[in-house]
C-alpha cells in the first residue's frame, strides 16, 4: 500500500494550474453565453411568430432530452462531416452554452410568465410598444427574479464543464489525468482537482450572492 503524499503536487502545479485556467475560461464563457442565449430563446419561445417559435421549441425539447456528452460529440465530431469544423475549445463552449441555455430559457420563460400583468399594462399605458416593454420592463425584472435558479444552473455548469475533457481539452480533470498517467498518484491529484473545483464553487457562490443582493427588488 502506498501512503498519501501531497508533497508531490507543487511540482506539477504548472500543468494543474493551466487546467484550472481552462476550466475557468470555458465555464465563464459558457455561463455568459448560456444566459444571453437563454434570454433569447425565452423571448423567441414566448413572442416570436410560429415559424420561429416552433422550431426553437423543438430545438429546446431535443436539447433537454439528450445527454450533454452526446451533444458535445455531435458538435465536435459530427459537424465536421458536413463541413463545419469547430475547434475543440469552441465546440466545448458551444455545447455547454447551448445545453445550459435551454435550461436557462425555461427558467426565464417561467420568470416572465410569473410577472404581474400590471407591469406590462403600466408600460403600455405610457406608450411603450410591445418589444420595448419586454426589453425595458419585462426582461430586467425576469432576470432579477431568476438569479437564484439560474445561479444553480451555473454551479452545475462549472462542474459539468469537465466533460470537455472528453474531446481532449486539458481542463482541470484532464490535466489531473495527464499528471496521474505520469505519476501514478490518482488519489492525490484527483483530490487536488476536487479541492480546486470546490474553491471555484465557493467563489462562484460568493459572486452569485453579490449579484443577488445587487439586483434585489426590495432595495
Amino acid at each position: 500500500m502506498q501512503g498519501l503524499d501531497f508533497s508531490i503536487v507543487p511540482e506539477y502545479w504548472p500543468l494543474i494550474g493551466k487546467g484550472l485556467w481552462w476550466t475557468v475560461v470555458i465555464s465563464t464563457a459558457s455561463a455568459v453565453l448560456s444566459v444571453l442565449a437563454g434570454i433569447g430563446f425565452a423571448l423567441l419561445v414566448l413572442y416570436a411568430p410560429p415559424v420561429v417559435r416552433y422550431p426553437v421549441r423543438l430545438f429546446m425539447w431535443l436539447f433537454m432530452g439528450t445527454p450533454l456528452l452526446l451533444q458535445l460529440f455531435l458538435i465536435y465530431f459530427g459537424l465536421v462531416q458536413i463541413g463545419i469544423d469547430i475547434p475543440a475549445i469552441w465546440s466545448g463552449i458551444v455545447a455547454l452554452s447551448l445545453h445550459f441555455a435551454v435550461y436557462n430559457a425555461d427558467i426565464f420563460r417561467a420568470g416572465i410568465a410569473s410577472l404581474d400583468k400590471g407591469q406590462t399594462e403600466a408600460a403600455r399605458s405610457l406608450g411603450f410598444g410591445a418589444w420595448r416593454t419586454r426589453i425595458y420592463i419585462v426582461v430586467p425584472q425576469a432576470v432579477r427574479g431568476t438569479v437564484p435558479a439560474v445561479g444553480n444552473m451555473m454551479i452545475a455548469l462549472l462542474k459539468e464543464s469537465s466533460i470537455v475533457s472528453m474531446i481532449g481539452i486539458a481542463e482541470l480533470v484532464h490535466s489531473a489525468q495527464l499528471v496521474i498517467s505520469e505519476t501514478y498518484r490518482p488519489f492525490e491529484f484527483y483530490l487536488t482537482a476536487a479541492a480546486l473545483y470546490y474553491g471555484l464553487n465557493l467563489i462562484l457562490e460568493a459572486v452569485l450572492r453579490g449579484i443577488e443582493r445587487k439586483v434585489e427588488l426590495s432595495r
Binding site: 403600466a122 399605458s125 410598444g129
Partner: protein
Amino acid sequence: MNDTRPMIEVRGARKFFGPLEVLKGIDFSVARGQIVAVIGPSGSGKSTLLRSINHLETLDGGEVWLDGVQVNQKLDRRSFERHINGVRQQMGMVFQHFNLFPHLSVAENITIAPIKLKGMAKAEARALALKMLDKVGLADKIDAFPARLSGGQKQRVAIARALAMQPKVMLFDEATSALDPELVDEVNLVMKQLASEHMTMVIVTHEMRFAAEVADRVIFMADGAVVEEGSPAELFRNPKQERTRSFLKKFLNG
C-alpha cells in the same frame, strides 16, 4: 385648436368577455379641463370602460376619440401599434395597484418614458422628474426604490410618472382603494391639485365624498350601462333613478 371639441368622446362602447356583455353601449364625453367621476357597484364595468379609453381593452363595438383622433381606428397591425403608442403617450393612467417598476428607482420610473419614447436627454428628464415629484410632495424620494415607499407614496410617484409625459388627460382607476385609510388623503390631495390646474380627468372611484368634491360631473354605471349622470349636487342629493338611489343608500349606510 378647437376648444369646444370634447377631449374624450366614447360612442356606443360595447365589450364582451366571452358570453358576458360587460359594456352595453356606453356614450359619454369629457370636455377639455373637465373632471368626470365614474361610480357604480363592483363589476359594473367601470374599469373596463376606463381601460377601453386607452385601449388596454379592445372594444367590440363603438368608438373612442381623444381630442379629435379616433383611438380605436381600424389600421393594419403595424400602423395601429404605432398609432396607439402615440395616443397612449397623451393619456396618463393610474392603476389601483400603482404598478411602479420595482427594478427602477423613483427617478428612473418617471424618466424612462420621456427618455426612451421622447428622446429626452437624461439631465433634462431628471429635472423634469424632480419637478413632477415636487408636485406630488416627494422630491426627497427621487433616488429611493419603490419597495421603500408607502402605498400612498407609491401612488403619488405613479401619478408623477404619468404626468411626466405631459398627457392631455389622466385616467384614474380606483387610485386609492388599495391604500390604508390614513394614506388616502395624500393621494386625493394630489388629484385635487391637478383638478385645480384644469387637467382633464376621468376618475373611477368608490369614494362618494371625494367624487362630490372634485368632479364636475358624475356618471353612475350599473350592469355595463350608464344609469344616470349629472352634476354631483344633482346625482348625490337628488338621484332620479331608483337604481342610483339604492346604490347610494347602500353605500352611505355601509
